[in-house]
Symmetry: C2
Subunit: 189 residues, 2 copies
Amino acid sequence: MLPDRVIIDLEHRAVRPFTRKKEVRLSEMEDYFLDTDEVVRILSRGEDPLVYEYYEYSPSGSQGNLNLGLTTIYPGKVGREFYMTKGHYHEKDAAELYYCLRGHGVLLMQTTDGKVSFVHLEPGSVGYVPVGWGHRTINTGNEEFVFFFAYPSDAGHDYAIVKERGFAKIVVHENGRVEFVDNPRYKRA
Amino acid sequence: MLPDRVIIDLEHRAVRPFTRKKEVRLSEMEDYFLDTDEVVRILSRGEDPLVYEYYEYSPSGSQGNLNLGLTTIYPGKVGREFYMTKGHYHEKDAAELYYCLRGHGVLLMQTTDGKVSFVHLEPGSVGYVPVGWGHRTINTGNEEFVFFFAYPSDAGHDYAIVKERGFAKIVVHENGRVEFVDNPRYKRA
């Protein structure tokens, strides 16, 4: 492959060129938010809000390459739970970095053997997801939470484990604060 | 290893925490600029200007991890040749990304079998160095050229090949423009 130049268009929250763009609406996340009744209520009103979207540039899937892109999580909540990404584990030993460019949020991480960790992100901070840690990002602010990401191109994504088991903690707005509370639906491996 | 949070302090062009900080002054780059007489003249005046510096965060050297950091190339020239980094090849199959945050510059790339390429970088653009391409960055502007970088932690660096053979092109200021000219000292493999 040849050298390339990729534009991170923060104003339009887009990447050019990109190999993948995905918009994730609430209807695709029914199984992810704790308050499923509230999800049903929102959808039954004919609303299907955009929760997050990302642009990705993947030059090659082979080892040694890097995928990069830009994710925007919109501000909002389902009940008291902040808008977030689905989250995933990597299939291979592969780290990931999240470089916050706009807004405020949390990078929530966990291992299958029960460790949980998180970092707060604001513009200028990078969250580092070590090898082996499942990860999800959450918009805890009132504006768009936008970050640049990069990870090894051969990482692979396991979304199923999160869909089946959830994350150990959920991030909620309570008493005017951002709180981390146990997820009653979490199934430990 | 554990999750971590790294601050990219653009105001002070620093990274916290960091595992390595390096300042490269002209005296360390005598063999890199074409006009060696001019290098000697500058140094003989008792000057030893800072050409570039970087902060790096390396969580682990093992495969699947990512090193990241911030490089600042100062504005300046040696003769007509712009300030630049030494440049290197990776020892393993490993790409690298350069995300420009401030200033203007060029990412110059080449392969050992004679291919040459470059991309212009300005704030918001990412230069992608594919596997196998040697790379150097050059400040072609009048202010600091600052970029975020990331690459696989197990990449390894081969600086010797650049020191011995140089880059096929040098980037110079000529007729008020940025020009790429053949490097008469370049030794093809």
